[in-house]
């Protein structure tokens, strides 16, 4: 209990230390971020969640808040290596004919911004901080030509977008009088489990002036967690349990319908 408590206390401190290089300029504002829940539990009735990211912008030396302050919030799921396959029509039917490997693809990516991306930051800055779906670095690994890589990349991104795992919420962040910001990011029901990061960028004149990171863990809980773990850790028992359950249900139905007498 106490260990957990201290870990929680340490997190803002770490965030502060991470921001130190930015603070050394002294004249730039600082972010105090928070998030509605650092733990999302997937239980039997899970149909998605909403993550509220909010916080304050502190200006050093009691300076007046700047009205042209923008905020971008990026939520990223654990990265995974993927193989993307492309279908083509061969002899009248559609089959997989080409593939490309990507070394690190975020399993989930959502960005919420207070303004359209192209008016928020320069393309260079967006690429450095990976703000925006098109600025993700997916690390293709096959050594194919650049145009071919781009084709697979856009195919992969379209697929992720259509399942709701990649999303851009333009105008999803509201900044109030240059001091308070809040962003509401929907988390779809198909969200993969794992350790997520929520990065908040404070942007002025197209430059990132402060960054703050919070961690969010998304995991299965209760019965769902038990089932998923049993399937991984005790596959033989799990399989036997599945067979037994289906046998019993079949037998039970037969009994209930009076087909088996005595």
């Amino acid at each position: 209990m106490s260990a957990r408590f201290s870990a929680r206390r340490r997190r803002p401190l770490l965030a502060l230390i991470a921001c130190l290089p930015l603070l050394i300029g002294a004249s730039e504002p600082r972010l105090v971020p928070d998030v509605s829940n650092t733990q999302i539990d997937i239980a039997y009735s899970f149909t998605g969640a909403e993550l509220l990211l909010f916080g304050a912008i502190l200006y050093p030396g009691g300076r007046a808040p700047a009205p042209d302050t923008d905020v971008a919030v990026v939520i990223k799921g654990p990265a995974e290596p993927l193989l993307v396959r492309e279908k083509a029509k061969v002899a009248g039917i559609w089959i997989n004919h080409a593939s490309e490997r990507f070394r690190s693809v975020p399993s989930f990516y959502a960005v919420a911004t207070s303004r359209p991306l192209d008016r928020l930051v320069s393309p260079r800055t967006a690429a450095i901080y990976e703000i925006g779906i098109d600025n993700l670095l997916l690390s293709p690994a096959n050594g194919a030509s650049a145009s071919e890589q781009a084709r697979f990349e856009s195919g992969l991104i379209d697929l992720k977008r259509s399942t709701g795992l990649y999303a851009e919420h333009v105008g999803g962040v509201s900044v109030r009088e240059g001091v308070l910001y809040r962003a509401l990011v929907p988390i779809p029901a198909r969200v993969p489990v794992g350790q997520y990061t929520a990065e908040t960028y404070l942007i002025r004149n197209g430059h990132v002036v402060a960054v703050a990171t919070r961690e969010i863990s998304i995991g299965k809980s209760g019965f769902e967690r038990f089932v998923a773990q049993a399937a991984q850790d005790y596959p033989a028992l799990y399989g036997l349990a599945a067979i037994l359950a289906s046998l019993l249900m079949g037998f039970g139905a037969a009994l209930a319908f009076g087909r088996v007498r005595r």
């Binding site: 559609w94 997989n96 697929l159 036997l240 359950a245």
Partner: protein
């Protein structure tokens, strides 16, 4: 009512899944097919990952088959000897299928192979059954006795196989190698396609072997019961893709549906029942053939490395 499936990793409308199970259960009780040939594609269409759909529908068929087998065995509608031979072949077939599944998965052609298998098998069987049942219905309308199901009582190549056994329930004196091979093929199909193989077994036993129609459905369910149970275990051990919640929902619907189906079958004339099954089978085959040639919604697919 939405429920989260822990292995599939998505939330589904529980009622839809239960109703799907119920519809499949009715078919199962009526025709002795597991109904996997409908469940698997429909689940995939609903967004369930293919591996989970295949594995969980195998689990469901186990439960559905139990009530069917119990009902049929009371009426002496199961040839246990034939069943055991089929099961032995099926067990070997499902192991070989697991190996083949992984091989095809590596080359990335598993989806195409599965679809082609569906189209070829369902199309062929659907046509054969339709032809036979239409003839029987026409004969019945003209007041004639229905034509014999098989013209050749024992196909030549089956009769040529060595050491014959007597199968009393089936009314046959043939080599066990033929049903062993048939069992092997259905075992392969179970692992690859998530079907119990009933839609292959029933026509094969009727038209190829000439098994007595009285025991065909029961014996097919008997073999499906064991083979799908083995498949559930194989999938649990290798792909970890059996979703208990999904299988449970399907089961609730299908065990009830199976009872309704086997009650209904006694009110429908068998040749008409076969014609209905033939139409359903052909409809699925046509739908899948169209799916192969039309431009798919998703040109790109991903696989975890």
């Amino acid at each position: 009512m939405h429920l989260y499936l822990p292995i599939a990793g998505l939330s589904v409308n529980a009622l839809v899944i239960v109703l799907l199970g119920g519809a499949v259960g009715i078919l199962s009780g009526m025709f002795g097919v597991g109904g996997g040939f409908l469940t698997t594609p429909l689940l995939i269409f609903y967004g369930v990952p293919p591996a989970v759909a295949v594995a969980s529908s195998a689990t469901q068929i186990t439960g559905t088959s139990v009530s069917g087998v119990l009902a049929h065995s009371r009426r002496q509608g199961v040839d246990f000897r034939m069943g055991m031979v089929l099961v032995t072949g099926g067990a070997v077939g499902s192991l070989a299928g697991g190996f083949l599944f992984r091989l095809l998965q590596k080359t990335g052609q598993i989806d195409t192979i599965i679809n082609l298998l569906y189209v070829a098998l369902l199309g062929w069987i659907g046509l054969a059954m339709a032809r036979e049942s239409v003839r029987a219905v026409l004969a019945a309308r003209e007041g004639k006795a229905p034509p014999p199901i098989t013209n050749v009582r024992h196909r030549k190549w089956i009769a040529a196989l060595p050491f014959r056994w007597r199968f009393y329930g089936a009314g046959l004196y043939i080599s066990p190698l033929a049903p062993l091979l048939l069992g092997f093929v259905t075992g392969l199909l179970t692992v690859l396609m998530g079907v119990s193989g009933g839609f292959v077994l029933v026509p094969a036993m009727l038209y190829l072997f000439g098994v007595s129609a009285r025991v065909v459905v029961g014996t097919s369910l008997f073999q499906g019961l064991f083979v799908t149970a083995t498949t559930t275990l194989v999938h649990s051990l290798t792909t970890h893709a059996v979703d208990l919640v999904l299988a449970g929902l399907l089961l609730i619907g299908s065990v009830i549906g199976a009872q309704i189906g086997s009650a209904m079958v006694q009110r429908v004339r068998p040749e008409r029942a076969r014609m209905m099954l033939a139409l359903i089978v052909m409809a699925v085959a046509i739908r899948m053939a169209i799916g192969l040639t039309w431009r798919p919604d998703a040109i790109y697919t991903v696989q975890l490395l």
